[in-house]
Symmetry: D2
Subunit: 329 residues, 4 copies
């Protein structure tokens, strides 16, 4: 029973529209491309707005979804908050930690809910891993290890992601930031131990690979991460090692392979551990679940959706890695 | 037609004995345990020597194999060289880079061949990967990524590997050093960009995990490595990314899984690459091939066996990582 | 530029509508459920017809798609042919070979194209396998071996497929018939050597498992097939063995796993063959390709779409297996 | 504490010698090749006998192992029984069911234990599957499905297995008979519903492929089996379907892949089942366990070793399949 406005009618905006609950209503859509706005609005019986500014001012909207390219996210989000809307903005939430810090400050002065769409948290294998960790299935976490990447496509270096004015950064900011967010969600607070980004292949001013080593404040846990858009064959592999076993999440569906969670439990006698496999071949429902998690927060219930602080910390790690690598945007 | 003496009659010494060519002769064996020396010597009609000192002085020995624990390697190797023997010593070649540096210096003053047994180079998938790289199958190398680990066993932290007086270090020095050697062999020179070791689980003064980021001197190539003895389920996964494709070596046989090489070639139109799989289920012949490679060097032919300089550089990287992690042995 | 009418507005009817080319037009839809007909018609700006009889009589329709349950297929198809329409009917094409034989006879007396939707032929791995076979990649075919099955769902035995009055048969007729069609398409003519069907689990008068051994008329080729709806975990595994190698098609997407074709080539020295893997994680395009193949036939070009004779022979094999198993419908 | 004689000092004879318990003694070895007999005898401090006839007459032997080629098994075994020895003979136990029937009759008239070495029963995945079935893990068995095969090697059709005078039959009798034995052991009594053998590839008078459909006497259970020596890539895949789940045994080690048991349990809500994987990368211990199982029987304890009746029934099924295929040896 919420009234929703969407800024940005591209692929992600359309996913957000589709993820609304039956009782929610898409009221209005804004996009720099009128055609795109129209196409999305028509499918849901919504209006189009001439500008995002007019959209956020509508009185009949409760929640504003900001699904624009990175350079417009915090701008739109700020105004939406000031107009007393709840907001859901797309990851990474802005071009750099500075933009997010400001937004976070603004949000503290409102009573509105501001959340960030790190939808990977809502993949079924991740949700199950999270609950198994909380039940003690693998004991105290020691370290996490992950590989996330894709192979690009012809002309990838000419797309908006390759332009730091629009994107704020490259592969580490795009896919890598998911890994950072997942590590912090599953494994607790982390800060950057060391980070290196490099542009090996694509002819673009942003990095195509990021290598990270994170460490918890108590120095007890590590996270060893790699994000790449020169992976050639898409991969998502996320492992969590505890003192009693390990969890491995493989795949995100489609070209990343069928999503699967494997649970290895250390046997009292050690030796080769058995494992249990949970397979999730169903269509991706993460967008629906994330939307429900937003509503949960709005209505005062807990849920695992990312806060602005989560996005800020993740993006801050990305920018520290840029700094360590001598990269400036 | 070489006459061989082996110092150290344990598991590895026995593998070396078995790897001799039909025309070579095992002449003598020495081991701190007379029983162990006897068992090995008897299987090959060899004599046992009371001490390694007397073994290296025998006139009827051409090659001395040093298969002792790490703390004795360079000691024995030095004397063997001084007695004008060719030597094959086991990886990592010593407890620390200082020991290896000295040995390397000594070797320069002899006409003898001194080599180090990094047998992973001689696994069939590695040899094939090496030759494919040289033929340009994946183009210019961008980065390497590897995971190597095992799950330990009850009492692992009470074994000699856990005692730095004997071993010189922990998991990074034991399994990790293979990864470093392979990176340098396949990908050219590397130095340490950053390294962290940590002891998460086992009650021992040496590390049970090592995380490395290496970089080539020209700053163009990276290697992102992890070695662990809290991996729970044995893994060997070694990936090499070039601008035209990637190679992945998976498994080392037995509990590490059937050894396989996968070759992914980037298609002109990009998209999901096909891959070709080469499977090597046969018994491990790396020890035989390494022995032949030693003979090749002795007889003036080229071969891919590790030199003392290779071992020195690999161990130096290990010790730099210890230093960066505040670990001192 | 064809005008199309669809009889049967269920899941498959909707897939057919979606598969029309941009230049084709969905003119009319008929379904026993007016709501269902309306839903589909509305999405495409088509009309609904009160009955399939009136649909097939419309002058402004060139092609009639029959996507009803099995008991109505030949009835509708006959009338459509008599009204001078091209037809595409869903597999297996009717409830029993008798129905298909009659339809086949009718079709011979018209100038219209009559085809059957065995869409598995148009999966990318199958198309590639077909072309590799034709290029001689595996040499002369010796035998085919396949496993195809699903795990059912609660109440499966109460669905229409469990009622032989409607379906004409059980699992062998439903999924097994795909295997038979693929064997005949890829491996040439086959007849039933022996067939057994049995109902192990589901409380229904039709079989839940079918075991077949087919043989070519020249007695040189075999096909060893199993279809099951008590497979518990969905599987599609189709292997073709030739004298020079083998092809394996695994998966159909989604819960059947990512579609993959593996090509094993016998080496001159034999031993463990390498294999090349072609992966097809993209969304299922078989319906589009099958539609284009129908148009190809209509316009006089060749294409790999199933003819009525193919469907008849496949269903005849199914019914011979019923007969051998003492099953009568 | 048993004294053992081995007839046949080839590969299998050597495995049997190695599998003796520490307290057992290899007393004597006989082989048509004196060299081969000598090599084996020497490794164990045993004597060689000039003939198998003299071996079976030795008073200081309790158990005779018959590891000859198929044409000599029952001949030697008969005499061993008559000389009051326990016997362990290799699968399939003879060239044809007639030979085994006679031996079985003879054995009934002695107090000695006569068993047949179907070592696949003693693979760890099989033993675990057996015990899980008995504990009801998959409920009532419905059917079994298996693929077992290898790719041959250059000159395979010139080896003894290709000569029916020596072997008694081809691939179905060689590898296929294991499948039949396993089906009967795990799934209860079976008889041949239909069998076809064919020689597709190798230039030999025995079959290179066998296709079987077995059925239990109560007509409730099936087994759908394929054995091949034109499989190109070695495979062992054995599946057991019950009303509550399924078990899959994959691999036999080495070139057949790491042995693994997967257990799929049907969920109350059905849908994609989770599975648990048990992996057995250790060296093959089946020969040791089978030997212990023989001793168990000798000493009056139960064990899962094959009886002569098991071998007879398995071979009888093989020969019925030959008969149905018009093959006579």
């Amino acid at each position: 029973m919420y009234r929703v406005g969407i800024i940005g009618a591209g692929l992600i905006g359309a996913k957000r529209a589709k993820a609304l609950r039956a009782q929610d209503t898409l009221v209005a859509v804004a996009d720099l491309s009128k055609d795109r706005a129209l196409a999305l609005a028509n499918s849901y019986g919504a209006r189009i707005e001439d500008s995002w500014q007019s959209l956020v001012q509508r009185k009949d909207i409760d929640i504003v979804v900001v699904a624009t390219s990175n350079n417009s996210i915090t701008l739109c989000a700020n105004e939406a908050l000031k107009n007393n809307k709840h907001i859901l903005i797309e990851k990474p939430g802005g071009r750099n930690p500075g933009e997010l810090k400001t937004l976070w400050e603004v949000s503290k002065q409102t009573q509105r809910i501001a959340r960030v769409g790190f939808n990977h948290r809502f993949h079924p294998a991740m949700l199950k891993a999270k609950s198994m960790i909380e039940e003690g299935a693998i004991g105290e976490i020691m370290y996490l290890r992950a590989r996330y990447g894709h192979g690009g496509r012809i002309g990838y270096d000419k797309e908006w992601r390759a332009n730091p004015e629009i994107s704020g950064g490259g592969e580490l900011l795009d896919q890598g930031v998911h890994l950072i967010d997942l590590c912090r969600w599953l494994g607790g607070e982390f800060s950057l131990e060391v980070g290196r980004v490099h542009t090996f292949y694509w002819d673009m001013p942003v990095e195509d690979n990021g290598f990270l080593l994170l460490r918890s404040p108590d120095k007890k846990r590590f996270a060893h991460l790699h994000a790449s858009c020169t992976e050639w064959k898409n991969i998502f592999d996320f492992e969590i090692f505890g003192k009693k076993g390990k969890l491995q999440i493989w795949g995100l569906g489609r070209s990343y392979g069928t999503e699967e969670l494997r649970y290895y439990k250390v046997k009292p006698e050690m030796g080769v551990p058995d494992f249990t496999s949970f397979s999730f071949p169903e269509e991706d429902r993460s967008w629906d679940l994330e939307w429900s998690a937003l509503i949960d927060n709005i209505e005062g219930r807990q849920s695992p959706i990312s806060h602005l602080s989560d996005a800020y910390h993740a993006l801050d790690i990305v920018y520290q890695a840029y700094d360590q690598s001598g990269l400036k945007f």
